[in-house]
Symmetry: C2
Subunit: 214 residues, 2 copies
DNA sequence: TTTTGTGAAGTTTTTCACAGCG
DNA sequence: CGCTGTGAAAAACTTCACAAAA
């Protein structure tokens, strides 16, 4: 079953929403309601969910728990992914905190931290060992870590990556830097650029203002 | 001039890339090179840039500075956007730090912080006044703040928003929570869900593994 | 010769609209 | 009657391929 990328993105949104719906509200939800809460058309929601077969009840809607579990079976990890975080500044620390909270639900573990600050290297932070960035290739390999989250300054990113890819266990990178990083082509890289989102918001606000003045 | 959303997204990437190219490398760059560095086809890059008219030199490429300035004129803010951050945990603090660094380049200022912790409310953090979340409507209005960044726990998000929208100055929200927030329809909301990106990475890695075993 | 700029073709994604089921 | 599931139509987006400029 081949599922388009925009659909994947929305399924992740549906799952997050359903987790809340299950706690707070009833058991049944319609495509229309899901759509309204997320700013998506009902028809789009139904098309996305049609991948799971005839899972809704006509005239009624979808059973939230059943729907959640279908999405989770498709998207969810079947095993624990071992991850590491490079860069233990505020962002890195925020990630550790969230990760420890979220990791029960979503299956991943933070196995190692990396930094260059002497007061961090060699200590445990939130119970996780912090190593020097220069040892990243060795440690990732030793621990069999497959995913690296980069929360370092931009100008350190390529250096970190070059060392990290020495570990043949590494398969994916999530980067919070705005650096363009170069990796062997068998490694998957996703980027989150916080300030690009803020810029996008400003741009759309500006557009909106210009429209109003005409 | 109407520009499609995927194009906007890529233009932001080009701008980030060009800022680096201008520092480090030469003055001239081709659509092919831009594409390779960002994982985009050259023809796509050229189509995106064609919005600016005939700005490149055939047989040569684009002048990096000129190109940067064209993109920045289109996307960049024409004035300083006043912003506030709700939630001064690690994530909020990371944002303040970046914001103070980035705000010189991109035109915005952080005018106020909001939290509920007694040891934060009433103090200055990195030189910015921190107020109680319950006063957010009043303070945003007083200071004429137009953009709110939410870095609070999920379950506080709707409460914050409900108060914040009392300020008629508020135009846009950037949320780092995974909460589905409900706002008046004249307020623009963008969301960044860090863990959704991580999940997406895991999903694609899983897909890749399944493909290999067949 | 190299690389742009761009119509036209191709592909992907969204929306429509309605039959069909509970 | 209300809401799903889904082909078919429409819209949006990307890629091709090549003439034209430097």
């Amino acid at each position: 079953m081949k599922i388009a990328e925009p659909t994947i993105e929305r399924l992740l949104q549906y799952r997050t929403l359903l987790a809340k719906v299950m706690e707070e509200d009833g058991k049944i939800i319609s495509s229309q309601e899901i759509g309204e809460l997320l700013g998506i058309k009902g028809s789009q929601v139904r098309k996305d969910l049609s991948h799971f077969g005839e899972i809704g009840k006509r005239g009624v809607g979808y059973n939230a728990e059943q729907l959640y579990s279908h999405i989770d079976t498709l998207l969810g990890s079947t095993r624990i992914w071992k991850t590491a975080i490079a860069g233990v500044g505020h962002l890195g620390t925020a990630l550790i905190g969230h990760a420890q909270y979220e990791s029960r639900k979503f299956k991943f573990s933070v196995e190692a931290l990396f930094d260059i600050a002497p007061d961090k290297v060699g200590t445990k932070i939130s119970g996780i060992d912090c190593y020097h960035v220069d040892d990243i290739g060795k440690i990732l390999a030793e621990k069999g870590i497959e995913v690296l989250v980069i929360a370092s300054p931009d100008n350190a990113a390529q250096h970190i990556v070059d060392n990290a890819v020495q570990a043949k266990t590494l398969k994916g990178i999530l980067s919070f830097t705005s650096a363009t990083i170069i990796v062997p082509k068998d490694i998957l890289v996703l980027k989150v650029n916080v300030f690009a989102e803020l810029e996008k918001l400003f741009f759309y606000l500006k557009l909106g203002e210009e429209k109003q003045t005409h």
